[in-house]
Structures are given as structure tokens and as C-alpha cells.
């Protein structure tokens, strides 16, 4: 008897809408960022950006914090632009492919080593572009995590022992979206007063009130959290608190140094490994030490399911592949000028990051239909008489 044709059913863990564990998205993004940090190959970097943007597109929620990716894209673009502009005042170290010549302005001897204008070499421009792109890519990865993972859920995973650190992180996380909101508010006020709402001058005038508003909100949030009991029951003496914060800082520094070492910035892979391990150990000890007296429970915590593991694996593969890639491919030469070479296995592994879309559930809908903001949008480009 012929069996009925097998139909593909979505596995259960993908059907139910839920937020993926915030830690999973952050790990996924940090691993991609780590991959980006290890290469200046524009094809790899652009692939990483594409992966981040696609995953954000298909897995972001409709909550306000999901919109932050745009800001990161703009800043990323600005970084590349600034890096290219800086070429004009950096001396040409390498290269012989002349792109064009700008009129050179003689600088006083005080600025020896700098020059303004003159010959612009294609090699320098290319080098600057690659460097700028790398930084932009790392930033966009962070932006991706910001848009995918709910900051509030991330906050839940911060140990109570780190009261001050936790508070700083939360305030920082809520700062950015609120700045955008305040900027809109201030621009509307300028509009209502018949002023220009576009142009550099108008932008400069929004700066101070926006920062002020942001500060005020941050303070409000901090006091709200305090009156709700945040950081309670941490009855540590002053010395112990200082000691645990110091340990934590030392641990984090160790981890940071370890990562930079491993990622080949200073070519110190082995020392980096050791430093990373020591850093991790110190951090864990510090948390244990400080958290001993802190008790805090978690309401229906995010659990680490199969989706979370798969998402992290998806971007881990790219990083691993990169360790085995040749250095000429990872860091394509600037002189002589040539098209970057690509190692297809690595490229494929980077693109595997996109699997995050297929192995994770959709985020729940938050019914964000009505946002009671004072006015919805501002027309831009309207000029005062």
C-alpha cells in the first residue's frame, strides 16, 4: 500500500510566537561582530551586514525598541564617510595608483606629519573604506541585537549583585530610543514657533534640550526602579562592595584583553586565551561573591530552548570558518590594488547566520496600534520665511 505523501509540518518550537531569549540574540550578534572584527574583506563585511539586516527584518517585533537599527545604519554610514574624509589629511604611506590630485595647503610645521589635500591615492581610499566598513559592520551587529532582543528582558538576566552596573546599563539602553522621541518633540516645538526644522543650525538647537530631556528621564527611571525595590537585599558592607566591583572590573578587563588578543589585533593569541580564561574566572568569582546575599526571583523567565542553541550556532559557524581562512583573504592587500579574493567556504559559513530566521519563532504581537504621542509625524524640509 503506497504511503501518503509526507507533508512538511512546522516543528512545534517554531509555531508558537514568543520572544527568543535575549541572551541568544546578543550572542548571535556578538559572534557576527567578532567575525567582522577579524576581517577587512569588503565582501565578507557586506555579507555580515546583509545577514544582520535580513534577520532583523524578519524577526524584529513591533515594539518601539525594534526600530533602533535605522539609527545604527546611519551612524555606520557616517563612520565610513568620516573615515574617507580623513584620507584628505592623512599622509600617503602606501600605494601608487593616483586617483586625483587636490590642491595642497601648506600646514605650519606644528602639524608635521599631517597634510591637507595633495595627491589622493586609490590605495589609501580603499584602505580607509575597508577600515571604516569594518567598524560600521561591528556597530550594525550591535544594532541588530538591540532591535531583536527586548532590553527589558535583557535586564532580567543581569545579576542583582551588580546594582550600579545594572542600573547604568538599563539607563543607557532606554536612553537611545527616548533621545529619538525627544528629538522629535523638540523639532515639533521649533516648527510650532515658525522656525526651520531642517539644516545644521536647527539640528544644533535641538541638541541641548534633547540631552536635557534624556537625562531627566534617565533619573526618573532610576528613581522609579529604586522605589520598586530594585537592588534590594544587597546588604554588603562598603568594603565588600568596592572589592566586588573591583573584581568584576578586573574580570571584564581580562575578558576584553583576551578577546582582542584572540581576534588578532595585537597578534597575541596564546596570551589572549590565558587572559580570557583568567578574566572569566575572576568575573564568575566576583558574581558569586557579591550575589551571595542578594536574593531575587524571576517571573516566568525566558528559557533556553533548542531555537536559542540553533540561533547561536548559526553565527558561530562563520566565526569558526574564519579562523581557518587565509590571511590574504581575510585582509585583502591594499597595495597593489586588486579586487578582494573570496574563500567560498567562509562566505557560505557567514551566510549561515541567516538560518537564525528559520530556526527561531516569530516574536509575539504587542498590539502597538495606538501610540499616544503628541503628534505622529513631522514634515521635514519646511522652510521658514
Amino acid at each position: 500500500m503506497p504511503s501518503a505523501p509526507r507533508r512538511w509540518h512546522k516543528p512545534m518550537f517554531l509555531v508558537e510566537r514568543r520572544f527568543l531569549h535575549s541572551g541568544a540574540w546578543w550572542l548571535w550578534a556578538i559572534l557576527l561582530a567578532a567575525s567582522a572584527a577579524g576581517t577587512t574583506n569588503p565582501i565578507f563585511l557586506i555579507s555580515i551586514i546583509a545577514v544582520v539586516l535580513l534577520v532583523v527584518k524578519f524577526r524584529k517585533s513591533d515594539a518601539p525598541w525594534s526600530k533602533s537599527i535605522k539609527g545604527f545604519l546611519i551612524v555606520g554610514f557616517l563612520i565610513i564617510l568620516i573615515r574617507l574624509i580623513l584620507v584628505v589629511i592623512t599622509p600617503d604611506i602606501f600605494g601608487n595608483t593616483l586617483l586625483f590630485t587636490l590642491p595642497e595647503i601648506a600646514l605650519p610645521s606644528l602639524f608635521a606629519g599631517l597634510k591637507l589635500g595633495g595627491e589622493i591615492k586609490a590605495n589609501t581610499v580603499y584602505f580607509a573604506f575597508k577600515e571604516g566598513l569594518r567598524l560600521a559592520t561591528i556597530l550594525i551587529c550591535i544594532g541588530g541585537a538591540q532591535s531583536l532582543a527586548s532590553p527589558a528582558r535583557l535586564l532580567k538576566t543581569i545579576p542583582t549583585a551588580l546594582y550600579e552596573v545594572g542600573l547604568a546599563i538599563i539607563v543607557a539602553l532606554t536612553f537611545a530610543p527616548q533621545l529619538a522621541f525627544d528629538a522629535k518633540r523638540v523639532r515639533e516645538a521649533q516648527f510650532l514657533r515658525g522656525r526651520k526644522t531642517s539644516g545644521i543650525k536647527a539640528l544644533a538647537k535641538t541638541f541641548v534640550p534633547v540631552l536635557e530631556g534624556g537625562m531627566e528621564r534617565a533619573l526618573q527611571l532610576a528613581s522609579a526602579m529604586d522605589s520598586r525595590g530594585y537592588g534590594r537585599k544587597v546588604h554588603l558592607s562598603q568594603e565588600k562592595r568596592v572589592l566586588s566591583n573591583f573584581l568584576m572590573l578586573a574580570g571584564l578587563l581580562g575578558i576584553l584583553f583576551g578577546f582582542t588578543g584572540i581576534l588578532g589585533v595585537f597578534n597575541l593569541t596564546n596570551i589572549g586565551m590565558v587572559s580570557l580564561l583568567i578574566g572569566l574566572t575572576i568575573s564568575v568569582l566576583a558574581l558569586r561573591f557579591a550575589g551571595k546575599n542578594a536574593s531575587r526571583t524571576n517571573y516566568r523567565p525566558d528559557k533556553w530552548h533548542i531555537s536559542e542553541v540553533l540561533v547561536v550556532t548559526a553565527s558561530l559557524l562563520g566565526l569558526i570558518a574564519m579562523r581557518f581562512s587565509e590571511s590574504l583573504v581575510l585582509n585583502p592587500p591594499t597595495n597593489p590594488l586588486m579586487l578582494p579574493q573570496v574563500d567560498f567556504v567562509t562566505l557560505f559559513c557567514i551566510w549561515l547566520g541567516i538560518l537564525a530566521i528559520f530556526v527561531s519563532p516569530k516574536p509575539p504581537l504587542s498590539n502597538n496600534l495606538i501610540e499616544h504621542v503628541f503628534v505622529p509625524t513631522t514634515k521635514s524640509g519646511k522652510q521658514a520665511a
Binding site: 523638540v186 514657533r193 533619573l219 522605589s227 517571573y299 495606538i370 503628534v375
Partner: protein, 535 residues
Amino acid sequence: MIRFENVTFSYADANYPILENVNLTIPSGELALVVGKTGSGKSTLLSLINGLVPNFTGGNFIGDVLVNDRSIRRYPPRDFADLVGIVRQDPRASFVTDVVEDELAYGMEQLGISPSTMRRRVEEVLDLLGLNELRNRSLTSLSGGQRQRVAIASVLTTNPKVLVLDEPTSALDPSAAEEVLAAIQRLVHDLGLTVVLAEHRLERVVQYADRVIVVNRDAEVYSDRPVQVFATSLLAPPVVELGRAAGWSPLPLTVRDARKFADELRNRLIKSKPRIRINPPTKTVVSIENLNFNYSNLRALRDININISDGEIVALMGRNGSGKSTLLSQLVGLISPTSGSVSVNGMNPTHMTGRELIANVGLVPQEPTDLLISDSVAKECIASDSDSGAIPGSTLNIFEQLATSVSEDAHPRDLSEGEKLSLALAVVLAAKPTLILLDEPTRGLDYIAKVQLVNNLQKLVKKNHTIILATHDVELAAEVATRVIMLAEGEIVTDGPATEVLSSSPMFSPQVSKIMSPANWLTVSDVSFALDELK
């Protein structure tokens, strides 16, 4: 339950104490209403209860506050989380998470309550405040009344003994306010909670209060039974004012009490009529035809047709989110219609240049400080003169007419709510716009500041300005409006003379109208004017 012992407090940069020598006792299970002018120290008094002041603000603090014998000198605010639940003026500022259910659990997580207990309490509180349908909603998607109830629910889950509420209904429409107050009353009656509540809109809360605490900058802070306090208080709800005007004794505090005297008053006034407040129109200022406006996924305004002439004061009323603010934004050209047309003085506001726009229409936003950009009153006025091309000094001049003496060096942020509103209004008026729009102007205003606003608006109309107010404040609409337009879900439901619309609506009728119905009286000032004429 709560004891203030010889409390004197001054903020760090102030040269005089905001509270001086305060001695108060609030017994357990009572609802205490805190009244006082704006800037009199009500919020400071409330924040002292869990020690946010002085712990977060700094300042000079003498004396002590004890809640359930726990001193705010010895414990930081976080150690009061199981004892005192505090909800601030704008609940959005106190939300820590982003989803209703998480917000409810947050406080318990901090206290280390076991997961099973947490789960049970969240369910209980959801039911208690009728929030079950909203449990998965994002906090930004809630309406004003829902937001306020979520904020209350989120501090209730920790089982506090004291609930502190700072102006819980000032941003709410009348029905949402009732919803919140009903919930609060249930907490006092069923759970024996002690509630300390500050509110300017006394007409909404007086009937629930067991005790009134009067905070007065120039005199001592004291507490007494409501009847005693309102016999003499300058700040009093319309029902009390009416009782005083008509010479009723004992003084009624609620509409229900007052109705017992109403027959007698109606008979006295049987031959009198309320003053006519409609000014003869000469030309059309605003004309809106078939206006439709959609947000990305919501129809915010549908088929709106309105014509407004000069000399009219129009009150736009309706629930939170019914499209009032959106309509104002359309009139000032901040957004353009999806279809249909809007014109002010025959021109489309979205096509006007900056200078043209402010000479035709000016908007005072919900938060008046949003409009202000400088760091002192003097600088603000100079900036406004140059924005509008007015003669130097004219904004300051207008401001001095609107508000009584304010130091020119003061930061606009440090002004009282009424002064902030006057400053924003002065900035708008400097450009001499024909049409003046005010979005929720009485939020945070006490009765005295409100009387001043009413006088100012009436003066403006006499100078041929046209005024549109979006407001939840029924008493304000009753006091000044010549015409009321009710919106619901972006549609016009009613449009007519204020006297008719306000006296026929159960939710939106002012206290005087409720007392005097079926006679058509809306305000105390109308009644006392008529009484004076009889003499």
C-alpha cells in the same frame, strides 16, 4: 500608619523650605486627599513617604517620616517597596519593563518572592483591576486609563500597606477617571489599604476622601475632615462653591448631597437665565471639509466637517485617543490630511511658511514646556520676539499681563504649571495668531490658576481671537466654551452649543449641571451672577 514628625525640607538650590515643621498622622485604612496650589509641595510630601525625597533629590531634611514605624532616615526607598506603592503623575515615567504582565511582576522579583506566589498574585491583581485582557499588551499601546490602572496594579502585587498616588486622574477623560477611582475605592474598602492621593480636580475625588491634608506654602500643613476643610478652603470643587454661593448648610461635598438643596435654588432662580455667551460671528476662520486621516494602520479621523467663526471658543472633547490632538495637529499643519481639506483664514496650514503659520495659528501643546527652548524667561521672550518679528519686549509684556510677577531669570522648568502655561501662551500670542489652539490646558492647574486661564481666554476672544481647546476638563468647558464638539473614534458625535451638549451628556456634564438639572445652569459663576441680580 504614616507619621510625619517635625518635617522641614528644602531643595538644595532653594533658599526657603518647601515644607516647614510638618506634623501629620495618617491612620491605617484611610483615604487621605492632599490638596494645595501648584508648587505648594504636594509632590514633595508624597515622595517623602518612601524616601525618594530626600534620597534621590538631595536637599536639606530635618525631622523624620515613619511608615509602619520604618524610618526613611534609616532605610533607602528600595526597602520600602514591600510597604509603600508609589504611582507618579505620569505613569509612563515609572514603567520599567515593556509588557503589562512583566510590569506587574517586576516589584515581586526584586523582593525575591517565590515564582509560584508571584504567578498567583499576578493573576489576582489582574482580576482586581480588570486587566486580564491586557496582560500581553505592550505598555506603549495602552490608553491613559489603562496605563494608570496598570501602574497601580504593578505596585499592588508586592502587597503594600500604603498606596501613594500623585494626580492619578489629571490626564484622564471623565469615564477613565471614574474607572481608576472606582478601583482605588475598592482597594480601600476591600483590602484596607491606606491611600494618600494628590489631585487638583477635586470634583472627581472629594466624595471618596476620609481626610483632607492641606498643603499651603504660607501656612502650616494640617489635616482635617473634608467638611471642615472645604468650609473655608480657597481651593474647592464647584459643588462646594455652589453651596457657599447659595448659602447651604451643612455644606454639601457631593452632587448627591447638593441635590437635596437644589429644588429650593431652582425655585429662587426660576425667572433667571444663564448669561448668553455666544459672540456674534463675522467671518469664518477654520473650515474643514471631508477630512480623513490615517496612521499606518488606524483611521484616526473620519469625514470631519467643521466651520468655526471668529469669537468662538470651541471645546473638543472625547475619550483619550479619540482624535482630539490629531485634529489640532492638522490645524497647525504638523500633519497633512490623507484626504479632504483643512483651511485656516482661507489658507492651507501645511503650505504656509514658518512666519505665516505662526501669524495665523498657534498651538500650546499638552506639555507647555515642549514649546519652550531657552533657559530663562527673559531669553525665552527675546527668542519669541525674534521668531515672530514682534517689537522687542512684546512677549514679555504679554506674559506679564497673563501671569502675575515672575522673576525674569527663572528657568521655565522651575515655574509653576500655571506660569508655564502662561509663558507658552505668551510665546504663541506674540505672533498675533487669529486661531489659538490649546491641548489639554488645565492638566496640573489648581482652581486658582484655572480661573486665571478662563479670564485670559475670555479676554482673548473679545480681541477677536478664535480658540479651540482639546480638553477632558468638563468644568473648564462649561466655564468658557461657546460650542462643544464631541469626538469618538475619530468621528464627530455631537456638535452644538455648550449649554445644550454639556447638560445633556451624563459623562460630560459639569457638577452644577448635574445638581441643577433639569434647569440649564452650567457654572457656579452663572448661578452666583443670577443670585446677585436678584438681590
